[in-house]
Symmetry: C2
Subunit: 266 residues, 2 copies
């Protein structure tokens, strides 16, 4: 059996009981470590699970998945994924590959940022499509995410913006020369995300509280990974009340909610 | 401490390790049982958790939440919720109430239908806003859900439609007479959901494969709760391939994907 197991979002204890049983019973356990990260390191997971974990980088999951799936029709193999297994396309690919090889698969779900974002106090029903924001380079500034946010905004919906993560990436030069030298990991910060948004919008003076966020010190947002939520016009007063707890500036959050969003708050 | 703990979607083993620890350490444990259901009964949860569970109906959670929160500043109290705590508005209310009473709260996340729907093979990025579909009555057929689905469809996005659940509801007559007599639980089936959709659309001959679903025997969809996914035009060929596994009629799924959605499949 090939298990693909969601780990949830925080640490070793966010795995489900069902997931933990599958890990303990598996012959080989892989940890996918390039589409997201937990708040704890691999050794802490290993100590808690009582299992050695094999790190699976992008290369292994995307192009050498047969190595992961090796003999999974005879023994149990587990691939651990931060959040839920269906947050990223890649995990669909490997399940399709397992199916093609006649290997039985089982998915063990867990919380993902796509539902846990509700903790911010915004109703999940009020979110439109989720978008990803990648690191801009000098020559590559893909802007389709902006259209998606605008589609949501035009309907008055919130947008969850997933911020880029670069783990075990090669520089262009090393890639061209075939040198397996990797850059240090990078995680997009909220201020950088907002700057990129404003860069696409090309109207830095009209972005309301986005300008506050762009100026805000990176450290104040805690350790990565970060996600950004852009609030839609259908904002409900209960959302305003709940989310206020997390506002950078509460007074301003309320003022914007009432003057820009027309959302009456006490 | 007031804990609100997601149970995930299937059975007693879908709770997280963190959640299980909180349940075991709590003085009182409530089970919310009207916005969703697990595939197993309360006694099975009690046996596994080693705790007696107090059933919390809508009345208790919405209007008598102070009973649940009683002394939660001194002892640990847990409220168990199917899926994730932020799937329904109600749980925001009780947390706000706890805050107002100065009771510390902790939310323990889990999988929700809003991320686990990815298991169907459709990319979560391609879903627009989620909608709820309630049971129509002779005199009450709210149709705003239809506009939401159309907003998504116009953008080419999929829609997750959450189907109604009626637990411990009174008939109009019993309600009017103040008799605490409750109707048997009802769960909306896929065929009924599709019929209601078609009723709003008022064009039963143009609904494509919806007509198939509406005719399909209810039993073939398994036990409730059910959700319905309406596929958007931005359908990707990998989604077609993955979701085919679940098609009522595979050949037809492929034909529709290619002719209606313009999505080339091998």
């Amino acid at each position: 059996m090939f298990y693909i197991i969601g780990l949830g979002l925080c640490d070793e204890k966010d795995i489900t009981v069902r997931g933990l049983e599958a890990v303990k019973g598996a012959t080989r356990v892989y940890l996918e470590a390039y589409t997201s990260i937990l708040m704890v390191q691999k050794d802490r997971l290993e100590a808690f699970y009582g299992k050695e974990l094999i790190l699976a980088d992008r290369d292994m999951v995307e192009t050498q998945s047969d190595e992961i799936l090796h003999r999974a029709d005879e023994v149990d193999v587990a691939l651990l994924v931060v959040g839920d297994p269906f947050g990223a396309t890649t995990h669909t690919d490997i399940i399709l590959r397992a199916r093609a090889l006649g290997i039985p698969t089982r998915v063990i779900h867990n919380a993902s940022i796509m539902n846990a974002v509700g903790a911010a106090g915004l109703q999940l029903y009020q979110f439109g499509q989720t978008v990803s924001l990648v690191f801009f380079t000098e020559t590559w500034k893909p802007d389709s995410f902006y259209d998606r946010i605008k589609e949501n905004a035009d309907l008055g919906l919130h947008t969850l913006v997933l911020l880029d993560i670069k783990v075990k990436e090669q520089s262009d030069e090393n890639l061209a020369r075939g040198r397996k030298i990797y850059e240090p990991p990078r995680y997009m910060s909220i201020p950088l995300a907002v700057k990129q948004l404003v860069e696409i919008e090309s109207m830095p003076n009209r972005c309301g509280t986005l300008s506050d966020l762009a100026q805000h010190p990176e450290e104040s947002f805690g350790e990565p990974l970060h996600s950004l939520v852009i609030v839609g016009k259908r904002l409900h007063h209960l959302e305003v009340e709940y989310a206020e707890e997390f506002a950078v500036d509460r007074e301003r959050w309320r003022t914007v909610a009432s003057t820009v969003y027309g959302c009456a708050v006490d």
